[in-house]
Symmetry: C2
């Protein structure tokens, strides 16, 4: 088994160095790492071929193989992603608030890095450079543990980033890779309490559950989104249709896509046939409850399991509800606290939905697809937190920081 203690110690030492680097230096290093990725495109492609061959042997699905595949263009995108992170404002060192207390102490809340961040992730190799650059920019050392499917690609990518840091002789172990994909090592990483300040899992529901049950280091859960759109009795129906199609069909495989549509019974009779037409035109399969079935031609009957399924596919569950209250109860029972939307023109309904629905992002008259760090204006994101501790919703650079109280006195003692 790999020596995680050594990795942890190296990360901690590097984190301290990195935490003290000025922004200009961090940006310079990010740009150097981006250049190195482009320069060594061939090395990356060779490693990626190993992964693709293995995927072939293991008869991995085409869609997964596509996620895995790197091309010179995709490598350039990864490099450009790092350059963009270099251009984002650096949160570290900023003082959010500063006030004078009754003793005359000047107390400031200054942003500092978290320290050492672990990331456990699946499949796509671009997560490697995305996560590495966001952690680096926010002054954190990172220990990356990718999935076995992209093992060779990830290993090569981290090697290149590390070479660039070694060359600059600055925080050389700020970016490290766990080159062991065994479950034992994953478990040991989840319990590396002496070194990891936080662990962020990025992947499917199974991974998130495993991490949640096993990890003794602090975890920020990300990702799964069993999201709803509720069409209220006071909805503008011509606004509802494009929002529903967008939330479901624009990119069904992502966590902010809609999975269940709830419809007030008063609008169901005339709205359901219309939305069915639009959904069919977008190749969406419908799983409907009994009441909705009355107004639908092509739907399959929904079962209890449908309400808690995150399809991530061209499938939509539909349910008719008697009231806004019933919609809210259904959502709070089945959702994964990610993104929820109401379509309404009623003021009271909008306020009630915003207040009572428990989710990271709650929308009035907009698609759930907007839950995203770029869209929210954070410049980037390392994931979308569905828990309440530390960060909730899209996590940008700010969410990768903590605070330190800096206190300026002139001889104060406590009475």
């Amino acid at each position: 088994m790999i020596d995680l203690q050594t990795l942890g110690k190296q990360a901690k030492d590097s984190a301290y160095q990195l935490g003290l680097l000025e922004t200009a230096k961090k940006n310079e290093l990010l740009n150097q790492m981006a250049d190195a990725l482009e320069k060594r495109t061939d090395d990356i492609l060779i490693a990626n071929t190993l992964d693709l061959n293995q995927a072939e042997e293991n008869k991995i699905r085409d869609v997964m193989k596509d996620r895995l595949r790197l091309t010179p263009e995709r490598i350039q995108e990864m490099a450009n992603g790092m350059r963009q992170v270099a251009q984002l404002p650096d949160p570290i060192g900023n003082v959010d608030k500063m006030w004078k207390n009754t003793d005359g102490l000047l107390i400031g809340q200054q942003r500092v890095p978290l320290g050492v961040i672990g990331i456990i992730y699946e499949s796509r190799p671009n997560v490697t450079t995305d996560a590495a650059s966001l952690c680096f920019k926010s002054g954190n050392a990172v220990i990356l543990r990718g999935g076995k499917e992209a093992f060779h690609s990830n290993q090569q990518l981290v090697q290149i980033l590390q070479d660039a840091l070694l060359e600059a002789q600055l925080a050389p172990y700020a970016i490290q890779f766990v080159d062991d994909t065994s479950h034992e090592t994953a478990k040991a990483l989840m319990q590396l309490t002496d070194y990891l300040d936080v662990l962020i899992p990025r992947g499917g529901a199974g991974l998130i559950r495993r991490v949640k049950q096993t990890a003794t280091v602090p975890v920020i859960e990300t990702g799964t989104g069993n999201n709803h759109v509720y069409v209220d009795r006071h909805a503008q129906l011509d606004m509802a249709i494009p929002i529903i199609i967008n939330a479901k069909a624009q990119r069904p495989s992502v966590c902010n896509a809609m999975e269940t549509l709830l419809i007030h019974h008063e609008v169901a009779p005339f709205f359901l046939p219309k939305i069915e037409e639009a959904l069919i035109a977008n190749q969406i399969e419908i799983h409907a409850d009994e009441r909705a079935m009355d107004y639908l031609k092509t739907a399959l009957p929904a079962t209890e399991a449908d309400w808690s399924t995150e399809y991530l596919d061209y499938i939509l569950a539909i349910k008719v509800v008697d009231s806004l209250e019933e919609a809210i109860v259904h959502i709070n029972k089945y959702n994964t606290k990610h993104s929820e939307a109401i379509i309404t023109d009623n003021y009271g309904a909008s306020q009630k939905f915003l207040k009572e629905v428990d989710a990271a992002a709650v929308y009035v008259n907009a698609s759930t697809r907007f839950t995203d760090g770029y869209v929210f204006g954070f410049g980037a994101e390392i994931g979308i937190s569905t828990q309440k501790i530390h960060a909730r919703g899209p996590m940008g650079l700010h969410e990768l920081t903590s605070i330190k109280y800096i206190v300026y006195g002139n001889g104060q003692i406590r009475h």
Copy 2:
């Protein structure tokens, strides 16, 4: 074993109700709970006597017995503490920031409760009402698990608070007590991932370590403080003496007291005799390194263990260092990331110390004793976080909240 699943479920349901209560209603209930405490003073004293008798049998130290002892005055203080929390501003519902993104969405960060908070704590029964009132005011349900020494007192206190809630028929299980002090139950509570949003241990280093190693629910570590004061070569020595005496002797048993004094070698020869005199006048025993011993009359030789000991007692370790850099290295190696201070009149030294020392609170020319929620202006505190995730330093009502993004649209879809 107690049925923690039921407790958890009840807490979750109550948390949802409590999260929707208006501030005025929460305040009214806090005041009613305070009244109930006073009204049932006799019941509390009877329960407390059971604990005190048990302490007597177990030959508990007098200082511990004093912490355990309740009197009508102390019960009134607890009630008044609850009334003070009622008067604090309610963070829930406030929108910290709101901005318009490029799609025209109005995006707001609204404060919401964390949900269900677990508190594992030791000895003092006033923690019961303090923690309960802070969690309640911030809209969180709480599950309290106190130490066995104060079992009867804690149980009775929670019973009274719960009776008041039951009478009002509002969120009756918002405050619950684990009436089982076994280690198995404590462990099960630390792993109650389905219901606990966060667990806050309050107690000694042993408890904190056990929670950190065992808990799979999110934890906010609190408390232990192996704190330093560094007297720089540019220190105003007449300012240093009162700060050192205050940091060490004003209340040695608390986590923000100083444990090790570091002194620049240039000032050691004339400063050490002076500070020894002041320390002796305050009944402080000195454990000094070899270099410091040269200038001290009464000190015992320090061993390696002294540098990492949180005495919480009338003992101080003293070490002479060659430079500011050496002081910072020593502090970052041995401290528990709580509170650190430099005494200096040099601008560069102050800035370097503030930047490079890793701790929740870093002071220039002030006593470490100020790290406290009341002193910082938060009105109250539930503990002092020594970790970086979610909250760092004194935790007030704000630190018991999370956020929800509320998003106002008018038909936006994602492109």
